[in-house]
Symmetry: C2
Subunit: 372 residues, 2 copies
Amino acid sequence: MAISHFYPPRRTLMGPGPSDVNPQVLAALAKPTIGHLDPLFINLMEETKALLQYAFQTQNEFTIAVSAPGSAGMETCFVNLVEPGDKVIVCINGVFGSRMKENVIRCGGEAIVVEQEWGRAVDPDAVETALKANPDAKFLAFVHAETSTGARSDAKALCALAQQYNCLSIVDAVTSLGGIELRVDDWGIDAIYSGSQKCLSCVPGISPVSLSAKAVAKIKARKTPVQSWFLDQTLVMGYWSGEGKRSYHHTAPVNSIYALHESLLLLQQETLEASWQRHQTQHEALKAGLLDLGLEFVVPKDERLPQLNTVRIPQGVDDATVRQYLLNEYNLEIGAGLGAFAGNAWRIGLMGYAAKSENVLLCLAALKKALS
Amino acid sequence: MAISHFYPPRRTLMGPGPSDVNPQVLAALAKPTIGHLDPLFINLMEETKALLQYAFQTQNEFTIAVSAPGSAGMETCFVNLVEPGDKVIVCINGVFGSRMKENVIRCGGEAIVVEQEWGRAVDPDAVETALKANPDAKFLAFVHAETSTGARSDAKALCALAQQYNCLSIVDAVTSLGGIELRVDDWGIDAIYSGSQKCLSCVPGISPVSLSAKAVAKIKARKTPVQSWFLDQTLVMGYWSGEGKRSYHHTAPVNSIYALHESLLLLQQETLEASWQRHQTQHEALKAGLLDLGLEFVVPKDERLPQLNTVRIPQGVDDATVRQYLLNEYNLEIGAGLGAFAGNAWRIGLMGYAAKSENVLLCLAALKKALS
């Protein structure tokens, strides 16, 4: 195999993530590497914590970036919080809810599933029924923004239920952080994880995580050690703490943290509210155009994510042919369906830096060509 | 906290890693992000596999990069291979051997420890005694290049023992890959992991892993599921396979793979043999200068790693003061001691791109100033 240097084309990324990375973030990424124990890097980690606290709208002291993708962020929450025998109510309305269930099982927990139709929000009434029926449940886990379907669940209402029934909440915010309203402290979220490569428009590979004081207390009171050494947050706490002597745990992905820091700084400069509004505005423009093209949304209007638009593929249109055409002719990536939606839906992302007018126009014009 | 853009200084990284990253690798890192399911990215993953096979000197079909740091590479090997009750002979001659033991325990395995003085190679005779005494042992695990001490163990001899006593070998090559001779197939290594940020001179955050056919067969025959979903290689196999339809597992750290691909390509262009020789040559020059300064090596001559030189801190010299002086005056990072060596030894790295004459001169001149 003759291998040479890799020169990727400049794509427009309008799938379910990774989204287009802001050029300022790419520039930050390529700055010279310094040591992960360098005082300047330790300070950068402190700043990154503060910026993450802003993005999550939390004062949680335990707010860090896991040195691995969102899937590892999910596992971090489950593997630290759930002990063998713990009962977890898991809401499944797409791929990532199922993955939560898988995590619970691998931790030795018991998963009580609240199943929901794909493409719909989690139903708070069904959740309350499950909470009533399982007074010994310790956790309620759900996905805020289901990346596989484009459905938005009411995180505020679900977390209020969790509190009412004395459960800790575990929330998947991989696709929601930065794109739609999310208030960790106001809503009483206990454990939350996200990804760098969606509405933060950073490179993939990092997973922001925040834990409430109650969640940290549950971890500290564990009777059994966390089964993962790499994801054991009782060890990582010492690594992300700026106070006193930092204890070595693993080598942080230094350059990826440069990029995350820059992307979070850009978000802070824009402000969260402006970012949420921008996603909504671009979504409205895209939606109008998609409806004009005769495409139908999978998710009911009130449950749609602005940053991820899932539409049914019209009868007689071949999924792969269209996506290849968009990629080859216009360097435009849109997402295929996943799971139950494979082959019959497209997922069109408007995430972070990609949520802008020129992308909406390009996507609509290119889809029109593809479908004509 | 007023936070602004981060502009790191240009350090010379001569600690235990991360090492200086080749500017070509940083340039590759910052190329535009494409989708992780883009055909061009899938092809890049195939090329990266082939380049990793060269670096490891293996034909192993299962040769991939774990989307997380070397610690996760270690956990990948243990969590997939070791089932509850499995007996593992673990050689401990530094921090990373201890971490292997911790991994075995968290997988529910039984660790039989062969303890060795810090700063010395693993003793094959002691290992053989342990193998004889434990005929039911299934694995022999050891660190090829102990990053905490600078000691090099005889991986070839140890793997021959593993085969003789019907054990699979698990080898930590985090600091050895690219820096010293390492031949996975010739030596019969069954599971090996490394890191991107040592002698490959890539950014931290990625962990190359290779598994022999025997190791893959052991994983496929597991009676219990792998406790980690994120690191479950039965799922990852489908993600790194170029044949047929790739199954989605997680979002690959696209830009980090660009960087790894470039660093491995540079290694292939230089050739492994030339890289090993370069590390040895620069080590000889550094060693002569360090001895001239009156510094003593911790590790006996025949057991030293050229890429990681551990020397005793002279009496009356304050560890932190010297390291801060080097960093502040010359932007030069050398490593502190770890574990038993904290406060009484320095670890001077000559890894990958950092293994060059100008670094040797700078380090010796700066140390001379610091110690005078």
